[in-house]
């Protein structure tokens, strides 16, 4: 029970300080600058909002000016904080391992899967676009073998189509392949 020996460098698993990759600071700075730039944009654009002559007190410009000023102010404060080394704490979560580096490839592939899904809906129909999204995302996140993910995705897409499209009347496009199949029409 010698818990209080002077060894502050040994982090326990519960609150281990996450290893911070050197590139982190730039990303955070970019975000703070983005907030500032958005604020500046709001301030400039707010001046261009047409004010009908009838409003004699607070028109449609006032609140945007307020929001723009807040964004600029906070963005500058954040940029200064980051530059002075006060970084944000990445969010914790049950499935998040803060000790590993950010895997940008996974993020990019997941986004790509979503974008492909969006454009596939009107071409191959919602159930198949959904199956595509599910399978792609699952495989990117580590599902093996790939055909099992595809199978689950297909079943899921069809079940959702039947329940929401067929039974609840949501107009999900079933797509050319399932044209005329009962229960599937949205």
């Amino acid at each position: 029970m010698r818990s209080d020996v002077k060894a502050p460098e040994v982090p326990t698993t519960a609150d281990a300080a996450p290893a911070r990759p050197p590139g982190r600071r730039w990303g955070e700075l970019v975000l703070a600058v983005a907030v500032t730039v958005l604020g500046a944009y709001v301030l400039v654009t707010a001046g261009g909002i047409v004010v009908p002559g009838s409003t004699n007190t607070l028109g449609p410009r006032a609140f945007p000016y307020l929001v723009g000023a807040m964004l600029v102010g906070i963005g500058v404060v954040l940029a200064v904080l980051v530059l002075r080394g006060r970084r944000g704490e990445a969010e914790e979560g049950e499935d998040v391992d803060l000790t590993v580096r950010t895997d940008w490839l996974t993020v990019a592939l997941l986004v790509a899967a979503l974008v492909v899904h969006v454009f596939a809906i009107n071409v191959i129909g919602w159930p198949f676009a959904a199956a595509l999204l599910f399978a792609a995302a699952a495989v990117v996140l580590g599902a093996r073998p790939w055909w099992r993910a595809a199978l689950i995705g297909l079943v899921l897409g069809l079940v959702v189509q039947v329940i929401f499209g067929g039974l609840l009347g949501l107009s999900l496009p079933a797509g050319p392949l399932l044209e005329g199949v009962p229960f599937l029409r949205g």
Partner: protein
């Protein structure tokens, strides 16, 4: 009492059961929460009648509170920081083979405190509503400013990042057509944006897509370790556990409900206050157990958590003022059924309000039944492989936003918001203030401009009403108290996590 006759109708009972079932499932599953689930279900429930939909949403809201405790007790990974004190005690208990007792005291405590808080809601809400009728436009504006500041400053670990998130939400709320003059603002000439950005897209994008991307970027690999729980009824709570639990339950209810009613950051603050209180009251011998699996440290905070959930409904139903992200989404649900929460809600829609309140009572009973004997099933849910879980979250997120207008534009917008949510999580910006800001922003602007129209531009009108003046004074108090509490919380978390004996003065 009419509410009960409505809710006891078999169809509504089924809706309530569906709601609490879904709620518990999303509470158990990491990565999704009640706010996102209600946002997702919004477009899918347009065909339902309002009462049924609201009963489902209330069930999800409550169920999420119950389900979360199961995860933090049984999952063998460091939980979310918001509930870490509870997770720590419950998790330690589970590892010591007392998982069933931890689950039971959490569920029964949630039931006791939830029921007590619902009783309090039943009596407090009409009273507040009667007072709220007398509030004028500047008073409402003052209340909203209070909500902005507290939500922005208290949710999350960093005050400037919370305020940045809030301001981004306010900006999103500006996009669209100005209600008073009909002018388009920040629509970038895109016709789809003339009606404004749909809250569903933003909530689902931030909570679902953002979370999935963030988890994907730092996935915890390896098997999901769930701590096994002993089977059978007998091992759940011993006589000693009951004796040690009932007082924390009641205290938790007493702490949680009032904290929930004031805009002070919702359930997190209540959870922490209850934990700190139990620890202080535990006496010398018991206090040593805190951090190693003290049942009081599970019973109190879990009770406070649920009581606060009911407390949050008081400002929501009587003032139309959401103080948490989930409450903000419920407000949107009301609006989508053309129901305006506020002081007149109880007068205009008594059937709906009392059906909602009654469904909370019924939902509590259902949740107790669902959670205790069925814990084995929830453990199975907890073990869903993460790649399928997050793929499913992405799929349903895309479905929810597509179902809004059946337009791919909404799904593209969803991806953009999701990316923003990912960046915010990565750099410690809380996402909840953004949702609250987006929903409350246009309402606040409306109140502000109407106030100034009444006073013909005289700004002092905003602070001359006694209520508004008190509200602005309260901001300072709440902020200082809130930030002090946060510091204390972190210090305590650290002490508890290190398993040290508390020292006389805990430095921040």
């Amino acid at each position: 009492m009419d509410g009960f006759t409505t809710v006891l109708h078999p169809v509504y009972l089924l809706y309530a059961l569906f709601g609490v079932f879904i709620g518990t499932a999303v509470g158990v599953l990491p990565g999704i929460g009640p706010a996102m689930t209600i946002a997702l279900l919004l477009p899918l429930t347009y065909s339902m009648e309002p009462t049924a939909a609201i009963i489902v949403f209330a069930g999800i809201y409550y169920g999420g509170m119950y389900g979360g405790s199961t995860t933090s007790i049984l999952l063998n990974t460091p939980g979310e920081s918001a509930s870490i004190v509870t997770a720590l005690e419950g998790n330690k208990m589970a590892r010591a083979g007392r998982g069933a007792a931890a689950l039971a005291t959490a569920a029964i405590g949630s039931f006791v405190a939830g029921s007590l808080a619902t009783v309090a809601l039943t009596f407090v809400a009409p009273f507040v509503a009667r007072m709220a009728v007398q509030l004028g436009e500047p008073d409402y504006f003052a209340l909203m400013v209070v909500a902005f500041i507290t939500v922005g400053a208290l949710l999350g670990s960093s005050v400037p990042r919370g305020l940045a998130s809030l301001s981004l939400g306010l900006f999103l709320g500006l996009v669209g057509t100005d209600t008073l003059t009909g002018q388009q603002r920040f629509t970038f000439g895109v016709p789809n944006l003339a009606d404004g950005i749909d809250v569903v897209v933003v909530a689902v994008g931030l909570f679902a897509v953002g979370e999935a991307l963030y988890v994907g970027s730092r996935m915890r690999h390896g098997p999901i370790e769930v701590i096994p729980v002993e089977k059978g009824w007998r091992g759940w709570m011993r006589r000693d556990d009951w004796r040690r639990s009932w007082k924390p339950w009641l205290r938790g209810a007493g702490i949680g409900f009032p904290v929930g009613t004031i805009p002070a950051g919702g359930a997190d603050v209540a959870t922490f206050l209850s934990y700190a209180a139990e620890r202080r009251l535990a006496g010398k011998e018991r206090r040593k157990q805190f951090g190693k699996g003290a049942i009081e440290g599970v019973a109190g905070p879990e009770a406070a958590n649920n009581a606060a959930a009911s407390g949050v409904l008081v400002p929501l139903l009587t003032l139309g003022l959401p103080t948490t992200a989930t409450a903000a989404i419920i407000l949107v649900a009301f609006q989508s059924y053309a129901i305006q929460p506020g002081p007149l809600l109880m007068v205009n829609e008594p059937a709906l309000v009392w059906a909602l309140v009654a469904s909370l009572y019924i939902g509590n009973v259902m949740l107790l039944v669902l959670n205790l004997p069925l814990v084995g099933m929830w453990v199975k849910v907890l073990q869903i492989p993460r790649h399928y879980l997050y793929a499913g979250i992405l799929l349903f997120g895309a479905l929810g936003s597509y179902a809004l207008n059946f337009s791919p534009v909404d799904v593209l917008l969803l991806v953009l918001v999701g990316l923003a949510g990912f960046m915010m999580r990565r750099y410690g910006y809380p996402v909840a203030p953004m949702v609250v800001g987006m929903i409350l922003g246009p309402m606040a602007e409306d109140r502000l401009r109407r106030s100034l129209a009444i006073s013909q531009g005289d700004l002092s009108y905003l602070v001359t009403s006694p209520f508004a003046a008190i509200a602005y004074a309260a901001i300072a108090v709440v902020l200082v108290a809130g930030i002090w509490l946060r510091r204390r919380e972190r210090a305590l978390e650290k002490v508890v996590a290190d398993g040290e004996r508390p020292r006389a003065g805990v430095q921040a």
